[in-house]
Subunit: 342 residues, 2 copies
DNA sequence: TGTTAGCACTCATTTTTATCGAGTGCTAAT
DNA sequence: ATTAGCACTCGATAAAAATGAGTGCTAACA
């Protein structure tokens, strides 16, 4: 059997309708609702074929049809109309993302919020791994008798400020130490800042040996805590409105998974870094998410892929819209992080 | 009719059992499960009386009884056994809260997490309103060509670090400006830092007039953003396990309310500042929360009440445990913020 | 006079049965 | 090849029946 043009037309219409209504689509519905110029009986025959070909599924004998993962895949790859975002929406996004925002984390956070809000799905982001980026600047500022603030600037543009419990420091000592550290650490990645390297400073600044000895373990612990990948989820509340989650238990298990950094990292680990990645149902490779799809994309800072931003929701999502929004966000982030605005 | 001792004993047992099982309690259950030395028939008579007195409610004729808000109130005020926290739990809390944590926000955040985790309820906190506290220190640090980090230290112990988009600044200019600002602003609250006051600095440092002109609007906008009360919710996922939320719609409306800062502020606005505040059902004064209770407490920094931390969940909560945990957290926070550890 | 065994009664919940209707597959006519 | 027509399927909804936990009341008892 062959997938002729008419079959594809029918498949497209079925998926469009199912995305819209969340109800299995029957032959009569199609015949009435869409002017294909063929009768329900003909459509029925074609539908039977489409099912045999694996693109449709019948939940039970007397129900309409529902797209299979393969059906969605064909739809996404070949059938759907590529929407372009409206000018209004584009301006809205740019406006919000460029508005007085100067911290990279904020931009990314806000992007995820926008994604979630515009698609009614759940958005997630990973921030650039601070650890792997190079140190471009560093400051230590005494803020009171017992606290010092450590400021680290990465070449990715991320700035971290951390409080250290550090008594009896003078600003002069901190400045001197920072100065030497910067010289010896510049251009090394943050994870490469070892106790040994910090210890070396003592040779250059013997007069501050005791301060340095005190500082080293504090610094080590603080830097170790940066080890992790930052991962955020936005729009979790949208899950309450998915008709696919009828009862609290299903909802809970979905939300648990989406919130689990480990799980999401594992799922994302084999995503390609280029272009938009779309995973449909089984393709995700996670039993608990067989009815979900993920649309995600890498964003670049200084031309390097450093993080991922995307959406997760029921397989029955408006791919066309979702893809256009995700793509526009990616584009906007690239522009922002290319240094034009930030 | 009078509430004699036996009635109270029975009421206590009923509430204990209901808190435990979440099922209406019948006379036979009590007679079998608790050795009160009276028959189910007698208990039945007493239960009818307790209902007439308003302490119990019968969901329907052929069901057991459930405590009313008044029943819970009596239970909390008079009947329940005041639990003391186990030594293990106490050590766990202290350990976690004192472990290398030096930022006040972190301590409070972690406290809320602990509350949620130990009670399986939902915890909320408000942070000290930064705005209303006095400025004790201030720094501006140039971190690259286009960014300056502003560090503000409040007398509450809270430290805020904010990035400003600020080109062409020299560290010398920043230091000079900060120095003058500190002298003129010290001991005023942060909300009192007006454009006018900052503008005055130009008189003292005419050589930096242009830098100051550039800084003023940026600083104003940044400080305006601090206007809000910080409000956090922890343990939202626990709501999925409350048997009182059978369907997704109920769950959603509860979670929406709990997440709404405005709503929670309104609810908390008339809470007394001293001791543990317990609001049961209708006492909350919010229709959507008639089946919930709130246990909350103010915590002090430097002897002043600056924020609130508490729990919200179904009225059917283990008040004894909840109260002991909340109280111990309050005590621990007081100790920490009294400056002993921080 | 307070307590309790006994029993009829109530009513939410569960189980069973009946009805409905959307949608299908097949056949025969066009 | 297309389509009208029709018997059939089966989930969903509704109605009916069975179940059982729990009550209130009465009468006997200590």
């Amino acid at each position: 059997m062959t997938v002729n043009d008419r079959k594809l037309k029918i498949l497209k219409v079925i998926i469009d309708d199912f995305i819209d209504t969340a109800q299995p689509v029957g032959s009569r519905t199609i015949a009435k609702k869409y002017p294909l110029g063929i009768s329900s009986a003909t459509i029925r025959n074609e539908m039977a074929d489409l099912e045999e070909l694996g693109y449709l599924i019948q939940p039970h004998t007397s129900a309409g049809r529902v797209p299979s993962d393969e059906g969605y895949r064909l739809y996404v790859d070949e059938l759907m109309k590529q929407k372009k975002m409206g000018k209004n929406d584009r301006q809205l996004i740019r406006g919000l993302l460029l508005n007085k925002v100067i911290e990279m984390e904020d931009v990314i956070h806000k992007s995820a919020q926008l994604l979630a809000q515009m698609t009614d799905l759940i958005a997630f982001v990973t921030l650039p791994q601070f650890n792997k980026s190079k140190l471009t600047n560093m400051k230590m500022v005494k803020i009171n008798d017992s606290k010092v603030m450590l400021i680290l600037v990465a070449d990715s543009g991320v700035v971290k400020s951390l409080q250290l419990a550090f008594k009896n420091a003078t600003q002069e000592a901190l400045d001197a130490i920072t100065d030497v550290m910067m010289h010896s650490l510049l251009d090394s990645t943050i994870e490469d800042i070892t106790v040994k390297k910090i210890g070396m400073i003592k040779n250059v600044l013997p007069q501050y040996a005791n301060v340095i000895d005190y500082l080293v373990p504090i610094l080590r612990d603080t830097l170790n805590e940066l080890d992790d990948i930052d991962f955020y989820v936005e729009g979790l509340n949208n899950a309450f409105n998915f008709p696919e989650f009828q009862n609290v238990a299903e909802l809970k298990s979905f939300i648990d998974i989406v919130q689990s950094k480990e799980m999401m990292m594992r799922i994302m680990s084999d995503s390609s870094d280029d272009g938009i990645g779309i995973r449909i149902g089984k393709e995700i490779g996670e039993d608990a998410l067989t009815n979900c799809s993920i649309v995600s994309v890498c964003y670049k800072v200084n031309g390097k892929n450093v993080g991922r931003i995307g959406l997760i929701g029921p397989s029955r999502m408006d791919y066309s819209k979702v893809i256009s929004v995700v793509d526009y966000i990616r584009e906007t982030l690239s522009d922002i992080f290319a240094g034009i605005y930030l």
